[in-house]
């Protein structure tokens, strides 16, 4: 099962991972303290494939990539939120952490729900209450980056100009 972990609106990068832990860039090390001040039980009991469900403006604040890296390091499968802060959005895409904009799902999913997500189609199914939701489609060039597993991997094989073709 993929357990949903829910968070409130305007979740900022310090709440995801406080600045004092950002002295390392090791995903697993960062993951030990992810959400430590607002949901300390998360880092202790998250399982690979669990889903983060946030409120609007998820990931606001600093440009620090440590925040999405810490979440990716915790083995969460993806983040669902009504909207993301712009730098967090870019960072998550760039490091290959899938993010889905879906206000309906973010509103309806409760902590602990068993949620199935199809990243390719954006379909989200809540096994706990039987509801399904459709996430907003991502632009083509974003899909290209996501498909490559992040922009670094994309650039290993392609020129940057190919993003816009």
């Amino acid at each position: 099962m993929s357990k949903a972990w829910t968070f409130g609106e305007n979740l900022n990068t310090d709440e995801i991972i406080p600045g004092r832990f950002n002295i390392t860039i090791d995903p697993l090390e960062l993951a030990k303290n992810v959400f430590c001040e607002i949901k300390p039980e998360y880092a202790k009991s998250v399982n690979a494939g669990d889903i983060i469900v946030g409120g609007q403006n998820f990931g606001c604040g600093s440009s620090r990539e440590h925040a999405p890296i810490a979440i990716k390091g915790s083995q969460a499968k993806c983040i669902i939120a009504p909207s993301f802060a712009r730098i967090f959005f870019r960072n998550a895409i760039n490091i290959g952490l899938p993010i889905l904009e879906c206000p309906e799902a973010a509103e309806d999913i409760n902590e602990g729900d068993d949620v199935e997500v199809n990243l390719a189609t954006g379909e989200i199914f809540n096994r706990t209450n039987g509801h399904s939701y459709q996430a907003r489609a991502l632009p083509d060039f974003v899909l290209k980056i996501a498909d490559a597993g992040g922009i670094v991997n994309f650039l290993k094989e392609h020129d940057i100009e190919e993003l816009m073709k």
Binding site: S83, A85, E161
Partner: protein, 417 residues
Amino acid sequence: MGTLIEEIFSRRAGRPVQAGEILLLDVDYIMSHDNTTPLAIKAFREIGKPIYDKNRIVLHLDHAYPAPNVLAAENHKKIFEFVKEQNLPHLYHQGVCHQVMIEEGYITPGAIIIGADSHSNTYGALGAFGAGLGSTEIGVAWVTGKCWFKVPETIRIELTGKTQHGVYAKDVMIYIAGLMGMDGGTYRSVEFGGEYITSLPMNERIVFPNMSTEIGAKCGLIAADEVTLEYLRAQTPAQGNYEMIRPVNPRYERVVKIDVSTIAPQVACHPDVDNVKPLEEVAGLEVHEVYIGTCTNARYEDIEIVANILKGKQVHPFTRVIVTPASQRIYKKAMQNGLIDILLDAGCTVTGTGCGACIGRHGGILAAGERALTTMNRNFIGRMGSPEAEIYLASPATAAATALTGKITDPRELLGK
């Protein structure tokens, strides 16, 4: 034809562009600092391609400098080694990155600068496009010289009138943050204009684009004018004939009009930057630390305001008062003009330049149950140390008045008419 951001991007794209388009654009400078450069190096190594143009890369050590612990020292060492290995021409450790970028002439009207720091929006004060990005994209731009942008919609904030005595750009910007909310400008270009903005000197202008980040904006822009060009000529090595790009028949998503003459000193209260109150509603709250620093408000003029209020007086014995000039140049000028003496005599601690206390790294960490009043731009829980501490944001004048009493204090009580 278009908003300021459309005009800037059109020039770079070589054709008229409009909000909503996605562009791949050449960038003039790529900024990163000690907190974000190590990840950019990692991305650069993984990509495995050469640097596109070394001259465009500008690196700073400011976030944890001098190193407060071994891990920070390892980061600095890694950056020095990288600079030597790649023979990079621009490495600075003389102050907060955004201030140094401006002082060293990297920021000019119409320029496009990306930075691995969320307050890279600051550059908009000189009519440049500045936006914060993550480290991976910085590593990508080192290799490609390019970055993708979605041309944002624009919110115009039209500011008219004159501020009351004791009210500063910081008060006005905090007021705007309260009005707009912390996601009020998400993905948007926020254009600041009107007679109030054009009347301001550069040090006051900078506060607005700097804190456009706090309302979620992609960039905050002020159109370059004679004040901008005069500032560049007098204060920086940037001596070119820069075009004063202006909006032309712009179509704004929204226009917000504010008469600044009605605004009293403001405070952004714990725990959110949009939890804004007129100072009088929180006056008297006990304050354990006053921190005057950061890319928002630690310029020479800010330090001068503080020194004028503290001159010949003593800060409250149970309040730690820390002043961190934004750059070595500012520090030196403040020293030459006697401001540092005044601060030291008043009982302030004057630290070396950098970001230190603003990110809870060193030089002013808060204990549980403590409250700070600072000239910073954000007050996230846990930012300055203990998650059980509270951070209040205000102008340098309010910070100085509060330093004297140990309680949140209206600076108008201390400023002579």
